[in-house]
Symmetry: C2
Subunit: 142 residues, 2 copies
DNA sequence: TATTGTTATACTCTATAACTATA
DNA sequence: TATAGTTATAGAGTATAACAATA
């Protein structure tokens, strides 16, 4: 009975840590912090109509989001525009430069990930990646 | 092309967060902090011959481990005994009480996990859990 | 001199609560 | 009065370096 598996939470945490380490040199080469990248990724599907919404979607809170947006906007990677309909809101959207930087980061990360999964056989790998995506999406929706 | 999957790191991180949330009420009911539990789990396979070794295995560092060990030892869940061979070292081992508390936490966590995976079909689930374990173990060994 | 366990210090990150501007 | 965005403050968590005991 000593051959028990680890808790799912522990395994997820170790793997998250490993991937963060693997992404670090890539993000550094593009001069973005991890959370900068997370925000860019979140914006990829489309502009966020409010910053609070963006905060929730990216897993930060609205106060910690501010310096990130300041930094990225200063570099011309995104734009904050007041919403004419409700001028309290600021719509956040990627610029072309932001989209390009994101694409470059992503392809490097995909390579790193492929290397990481290289020992799995193709069927296993496909199942694993698909289930992982499905479970994570379910969690994100809550 | 907008139907891209998320980065593995992001998915792992969201899932880790979700499992930590799911474990919280269980650990609270047993009056242990998350890192207390991690240390108990690490000790389950056998005593740690030094605290630094235990720190590395549990993913903390040796200084942050101290208050955890103090707490758990005070509750009689583990024991620190000086190593006669090298009296600088302190061997850390679970007590019976520690092992019992651990077993109780674990079975509750396994129920929570089963509930979390309930929508997967059995084959998928088996593959997913096995691959997850294998990948995480590979990462832990480094 | 080097290492184990420990303590102390400084630093970063995070959460909370105020503030402003709009509604 | 309530909400979006922002700023400021306090608290928790983390990393680093110093310390005592042993080798």
């Amino acid at each position: 009975m000593s051959e028990q598996r680890h808790d799912l939470g522990a395994s997820f945490a170790w793997l998250a840590r490993a991937m963060i380490k693997g992404e670090a040199p890539i993000l550094q080469a593009h001069d973005v912090e991890m959370w900068d990248y997370v925000v860019l990724v979140t914006l990829e599907r489309g502009p966020a109509s409010t910053q609070s919404e963006l905060a929730a979607a990216s897993g930060r809170d609205k106060t910690r989001l501010i310096p990130i947006l300041d930094r990225l906007e200063a570099r011309g990677l995104l734009r904050r525009t007041p919403d004419p309909a409700d001028r309290r809101n600021r719509v956040v959207a990627l610029t072309t430069a932001g989209r390009e930087l994101l694409a470059s980061c992503r392809s490097a990360i995909r390579e790193m990930e492929a290397e990481f999964l290289v020992d799995l056989d193709p069927d296993e790998r496909a199942t694993f990646v698909a289930v992982l995506e499905r479970l994570a999406d379910a969690v994100r929706e809550r």
